[in-house]
Subunit: 569 residues, 2 copies
């Protein structure tokens, strides 16, 4: 709540009757409405812009000469957990790219810890410099085909509903549940009819899409083709163009963003890891590429800011005008979207600014409850009369998998990998202390000739997923992962060759993002030593267990045929 | 609150698994995002669209062949009182023009009755077929230079704040109060920092505008030139293009509405009387004229619907898509915006539909508390040494007045009118039972050679304003007005020649709008018999007492120089 004293100062400084707290002098202000660029001062008091298009004096000034100001970027849908760092480190990592607001869904941590995970994010959001807003995870567990660490019903979500950082209900990914009017889903939909319900409806079109929209769902970040996005737009759905580390839709969707649509389009990353952020940037990268593809410049910046704000009801931001929140990205070039300074709620973002935050105690430090495992746990007996076994086919950069088959030799130690055919073992080990399930199958496409790769990041239930050339290295990697309390581990011929501990719910590191990026680099290199041919092996391991993405997946309960929406046999 | 049963029906009907309640068949649906027109069915369940761009079956069907569907229109700022009829009659009068939502400010009735007037509008809003939303009157009284019937501080407004029909705080017309940070204004601004604060800032530009915007005000309906509107847009203010009976800004502002701006522009009428509605229509008329002036068609319809909805946070409407409120205008022609049918919250608007509303008891039936007056009350003594007296100059169609002077003869009955120079008497009589003030002056431009015209509509305090050629007819008209409990009266040579009783707060008739329009026509004719040269004499009388509009005005406290912002001597 703003005080009378501060609001009075804002009004007076806006009129030039008092100095502003901060003035950006002589900057090229981009009008995201008309596209006009005006060289002007921008005056700020507290967290708010109080004047533009006039000359101002300030207690502190920033020289904007030769640079440009655009509204801070809003990431409309992401999982901070995918950055592998804490919300504090995410803040420090991503805010300097001009991302001043994120709408995050703590879906990953909620699948491990339930309400405790959501509370951790809310506590963190009180501290971050960027404005972290939360959509409440709507689908925990994501499916009934796997063992998650928690289950969240509407009664569990309602206590968070009126928290000032909460926007609405996060991606309603259980679209079959919506279309079938499942009672648990209906309770959540009913409770949020007056609020925001985020969508998630890959490839849902026609009558099915109409039924889904009838539930009051208004946004989608899962469109992967222009035709799909156009149908969704036509039916009144806002399209969030996603460009993450895994799912990359920008190239396909760039053509939908124009002067007609820009108020109905926003940007998001969904899942982006710190290596990609370091190498490519964050939303700035999407903006740069959309402009390079010919989308009208000020409409791209509009989508990245004001449209996002309006779509999600954040009415205090998205325009560089008096009375709006002072979230500003300062650029060296509009076309190239290179961010040189950031103002977040009126504060110039500096390394020291991040030091002003209070720490938030980590949670879920004992969330990996699996017991140490022996190599023989991975022995896979052939089924009687089965000549060929189903194999999960993996392709670089796709979380989509393919249903393949292989004829595998069988020994006293069960079915054997076939390195000639690039078929190796994969297992998913329940790790929430619920039942100790192990799902076993085979995977093709990793290229591994030796060693094993294990991960406690395993969408969406985040059990332990391990792929490997030998049972011994698989067990070694998994057991080291358990010792670490979660993480990524590479084992090779009896040695741990690389590891990254992710002890916060088995999903996040407490370390600085720079160290995590460094460790990821080492992990990639260690995977290459195993002859791994995938550029992002950990991401691809992490999505092997997601039974809502076609076509063949493995959960702790067994091999799952997504097209049939049932287990194999 | 929607029930599980209804939401389930919506989801199922959207998928075509159940018949919809209502289906519009084969209609040309205008996509306000892209401009595309698609011939399709529109399925409706309850108050909600559940399907478009597909074929549907319904329990009831409407043939849309050859016609077009656009989202229902939203009037973003108006005073229902200016229609001179009750909210119920306004509903019946205006909804058939496709206006399915109005954001009204009960400023007029609040100036007479205070909270009781606001409650009357809220009670009426529960009954109307159209969605009547209320912005809470922020400036009652409008100025300290006149006697109003009530005073509303923030404590008086807060009890209404969370009413489901209340949107925010209505037009903050006291912009000097904002810029000076007056305590009463600051209390209102502070209380609505998280809500909507409607603007009203005629000609406010530059640093002053920045100061005003710094208070968190986001909309303006007072821009009267394209240059003014462009500066306001540039600073992030949404522009509501107004076309009323009195203030007509559409011609000047049409050029600002294009594909860049349409999400930041909406339409309003502010004040429109039933004669104009009958002759020209309502928002449909604005739409028609904007299209005729070359504004891109689907951007005009967007401004009239979705942009208005988003600007005011009404996120459930403004697009013809599944999940949105079924507010639909059905047109014979898109270019000409002729409305042939209207769907309001899923219901086809018919005369019978209006019969389903419950009546709301009128209020303020004894609000005209002035005592009968004698002719000598209008005697105006010359001031010693004064050769020429100030005269209020009136021009047809302008609520702006001009400062003129006249040398008037003085007799035993004081200063005399000068019919040669078209100078006649004007008086404003306090009628709220507070002090019995009478303000007296002279006015030029009415053309009256005989008789008198009296009105209890007198913006914004709604005292009795009377102009006349003789003191006797002025007294006759005023006394008849008092007998009627408020209204418009024409007297001529000792006879009442026309009258319209407005007994609800002295502002509104309980009669059907058709009868009120008929009576207004007779009143106009009766004014012509007095040689009145103004086409809208009652509107012009009603604005003679408004001391916030330049240049010279008369309140119950005396002649007011708006430029000096003080009384004349």
């Amino acid at each position: 709540m703003i005080s009378t004293e501060v609001l009075t100062r804002m009004i007076m400084a806006g009129q030039g009757k008092e100095p502003a707290d901060l003035v950006i002098k002589n900057i090229g202000l981009l009008d995201i409405i008309t596209g006009q660029v005006t060289v002007t001062d921008i005056a700020i008091v507290g967290d708010r812009i109080v004047g533009t298009h006039e000359t101002y004096e300030g207690k502190v000034t920033i020289d904007g000469t030769g640079r440009f100001a655009v509204p801070g970027f809003i990431d409309t849908h992401l999982h901070i957990e995918s950055s592998l760092v804490t919300p504090h480190e995410f803040d420090r990592c991503v805010l300097p790219y001009g991302v001043t607001t994120v709408l995050c869904d703590p879906h990953e941590i909620a699948n491990v810890l339930g309400s405790e995970g959501i509370q951790y994010f809310l506590d963190s959001a009180e501290q971050t410099i960027m404005d972290v807003r939360i959509n409440l995870s709507s689908c925990v567990p994501a499916t009934p085909f796997e063992t998650a660490g928690a289950q969240l019903e509407i009664e569990d979500l309602l206590p968070f509903r009126s928290h000032h950082k909460v926007v609405g209900l996060a991606e309603m990914m259980n679209f079959p549940g919506v279309l079938n009017a499942d009672p648990g889903i209906m309770a959540k939909l009913i409770a949020y009819q007056d609020g925001h319900i985020d969508g998630h409806a890959p490839l849902l079109l026609g009558l099915g899409l109409n039924g889904y929209l009838a539930a009051g769902i208004r946004t989608d970040h899962e469109a992967t083709s222009a035709a799909e996005a156009r149908e969704k737009l036509r039916k009144g759905m806002a399209i969030l163009i996603r460009e993450g580390s895994v799912s990359k839709d920008l190239e396909a969707l760039a053509e939908i963003l124009d002067e007609n649509t820009s108020s109905f389009v926003a940007l998001c990353t969904d899942d982006r890891n710190p290596l990609d952020i370091a190498e490519e940037g964050h939303l700035d990268s999407s903006i740069r590429r959309l402009i390079a593809r010919g989308c009208p410049l000020h409409h791209v910046y509009r989508a990245a800011s004001h449209s996002a704000a309006r779509i999600f009801g954040l009415k205090d931001r998205g325009i560089l005008g008096s009375g709006y929140r002072a979230d500003i990205a300062i650029l060296d070039s509009l076309e190239d979207c290179r961010v040189s300074d950031v103002i977040s709620a009126g504060r110039l973002v500096t390394p020291e600014l991040f030091d002003t935050r209070n720490p938030v105690a980590p949670v879920g430090l004992t969330s990996v409850k699996a017991k140490p495992i022996a190599a023989d746990a991975f022995i896979t007996e052939p089924k009687p009369g089965q000549n060929r076994v189903p194999v999960i086919g993996v392709k670089p950069g796709l979380i989509l998998t393919f249903r393949e088959e292989a004829a595998l030799a069988s020994t006293d130690f069960g079915l054997q990998p076939d390195f000639e055919e690039d078929v190796i073992k994969v297992a998913v080990i329940e790790r929430h202390g619920k039942n100790g399930n192990i799902g076993r199958s085979f995977v093709k496409g990793f290229g591994l000739k030796r060693g094993a790769i294990a991960s406690s990041v395993g969408h969406d239930s985040h059990n332990i997923t391990v792929v490997g050339a030998t049972d011994a290295d698989m067990a070694l990697a998994v057991n080291r992962l358990i010792e670490l309390g979660g993480g990524f581990v590479v084992a090779n011929e009896g040695q741990i060759t690389a590891e990254l501990a992710l002890p916060i719910a088995g999903l996040m590191s407490p370390k600085p993002f720079e160290e995590v990026a460094h460790d990821l680099h080492i992990l990639r290199e260690a995977a290459k030593v195993l002859d791994c041919v995938l550029p992002e092996p950990f991401l691809q391991v992490a999505f092997l267990a997601l039974p809502v993405i076609p076509h063949l997946k493995l959960t702790d309960r067994g091999l799952f045929d997504v097209d049939k929406f049932d287990f194999v046999d």
